[in-house]
């Protein structure tokens, strides 16, 4: 298994109240720290898999910020998502190095193979697709990440093969 599952799947999902309690603990710890908002949002997204409105309103309240301000921060960073994500989050890097080495072609192939657009999730809730802005692996460009796995020197033609490993029924089958 990947370390952080970003999905909103129902497998042994703790109930909403339990998650909210975990969120409140995080908020209590972060709310008085300068610059605590973004780490709190990151943790909230790790807890819930995405950032639903109820969570954002709670975060806004804890930090004594307006909902519009919190929404402004969330919508600024591509890392944050306000819609549920698939079990695997695919992030194709379009930073400068990856872009010039064919990142866009990788992205196009990924869209084709998954049948979704950037920001979308496959109907079987297995994959979500996002664009990344540099993972600090420019020497291995073009790169993409599937959850916490980094794939280097990706070739558009090999995308199907790459995805197949995640689709395999035995979840332990890792590339």
């Amino acid at each position: 298994m990947t370390k952080t599952c970003t999905c909103a799947c129902a497998e042994a999902a703790p109930d909403e109240a339990e998650l909210m309690k975990r969120l409140d603990d995080v908020l209590a710890e972060q709310k008085d720290k300068p610059g605590g908002l973004i780490p709190a949002l990151q943790t909230a997204q790790a807890i819930f898999g995405y950032l639903p409105e109820s969570v954002l309103r709670r975060v806004a309240q804890a930090f004594d910020k307006s909902y519009s301000e919190v929404a402004g921060v969330v919508s600024f960073y591509s890392f944050f998502s306000t819609v549920p994500r698939g079990k695997y989050l695919v992030r194709v890097c379009l930073g400068t190095a990856c872009y010039v080495r064919g990142g866009n072609e990788v992205l196009r192939a990924m869209k084709d193979k998954l049948g979704i657009d950037v920001g979308g999730t496959t109907p079987d809730r297995q994959f979500s697709l996002e664009v990344g802005r540099c993972f600090g692996a420019c020497g291995m460009a073009p790169v993409l990440m599937v959850n916490d796995d980094l794939h280097q020197r990706v070739k558009p033609a090999k995308i199907g093969e790459l995805l197949e490993k995640y689709r395999a029924p035995a979840q332990e089958a890792r590339p």
Partner: protein, 591 residues
Amino acid sequence: MIHVTINGKAIEIAEGSTILQAAKSAGIQIPTLCFLEKREPLGACRVCLVEVEGARTLVAACSTPCVEGQVVHVNGPKARAARKQVVELLLSEHDGDCQTCERNEDCELRKLASDMGIRTVTYGGARAAPKRDDSTPGLVRDNSKCIKCRRCVTVCNQVQGIGALFPQGRGFATVIGPAFAGDLDGVTCVQCGQCAAVCPVGAITERSAIDDVWAALDDPAKTVVVQTAPAIRAALGEEFGYPPGTRVTGQMTTALRQMGFDAVFDTNFAADLTIMEEGTELLTRLKRALVDKDKTAALPMFTSCSPGWVQFAEYYYPNFLDHLSTCKSPQQMFGAVAKTYYAQKIGKKPEDMVVVSVMPCTAKKFEAQRPEMNASGVRDVDYVLTTRELARMIRQANLAFTELPDGEMDAPLGLSSGAADIFANTGGVMEAALRTAYEIVTGRELPAENLHVKPIEGLEGIKEAALKIERTQPAWSFLEGAELKVAVAHGLGNARKLLEMIRSGEAQYHFIEVMTCPGGCIGGGGQPRFTDDGVRLKRISAIYAEDESKKLRKSHDNPAVAELYRDFLGKPLGHKSHELLHTRYAQKERR
């Protein structure tokens, strides 16, 4: 002090000043767009680019500090070309339907383009799709006209402390608006309209009631009466070329009559009435607290004239709601009295009457729609126009405003004292209340020069005053020797500071005036644009001059109000007053 040279002119300026401030101090103009006085400069729009000798690039004058020996050229070819290009790029994103835009008279972007000699559209870039948000009673937003200068964000977050508007998304796709670029009714907003007051283009405006008002005026079955708030007379003239601070009470009255209103009345009348009710309420609360030792008598008492402030308290300070005066605002008192007392006087049914308000305010549009504001059995106030809308209607009626003779308002609801005029200024409601309350308690006139309480005048954010009460009338002997402490805040950010001081016990008062907008109603969200502190001070002076020009200076001397009590209401805080003139508040869930 440091020394800089701008356009060849040697300037001495305090360290830490920006190039823009230095230029201004020497009378050198630099165009600006996103800049707002007294606020941290953003440097977002780049319209103020200037050339600094030795600097690698052009710099934004608003956000670049002066350094010793700096040599600046505002009008060199490089800076001029760059500023022009910046405005051309802004135009490429802006949905410029100037012929039909309601800002075509006073659009700052249009003026900049014209000043810079832009006569062709150079860039045809992508534009945001038009999206009209008319989800709230007071305001309309159109993102396709927004040029992302963020003035509204600054005023909503820093001045008012609400944060309804914030940049959403990033880069070219940035949208200035409520959370996730949704509608305004999805977030907490008190409808103060300060965003509309600072917007340089037509992206945020009031929701217009002009068509409704014309329809009412054209309907022969309706008796249409109008009330104008005190702040209008000190600002309306600006729409017709008069300098700020010109009083146009008489011409405004004539214009309203010629537009076809059946009676031209004054919110001032209801302001005097408010003082009778609110002054009595304050004294009653003091008596309950001091004599009856009644713990439920909530002090300090807060004024309740400003609907943005009332909503602010409902959202953010529900524990203070008992402290708000139960008095309705003058606008709503007027509506309730017009559709009962006056309707009876002229033999009309309330449903055949239409009450139109002219207010300096967008929140008043919201207030008139509050469900409980129907004491007469129907809507007490039907339509609310801003000062700007009235000016538009006057133009639509083809009236040459500056040529109009002065008119007099109608009796009885057009009669008022100078105390009512000053409701328009920060500190004015307090001063008016003190003029009456002090005289009720002591039987003597307020011991202040020309009846003005100097410490609570002016643009300081939070002001306070103390008034020693001596030689009281027998009924008020419990106040003998007491010191009445009052405070005044304007702008909701200042109100929040004051409330926190009270909550922490750091400050204690008996009576507090809060106005939503900086400067009070004269700086309201519905006033002519553009309102800066210079304009505010001129309007404030005009209002005090209006007050001093009146024979009657105190609300309790208004004979028409006395007659209303004698013939209809009974006494202040009486049963009928309670029904018509008072209200309640309820906590609102923040959104």
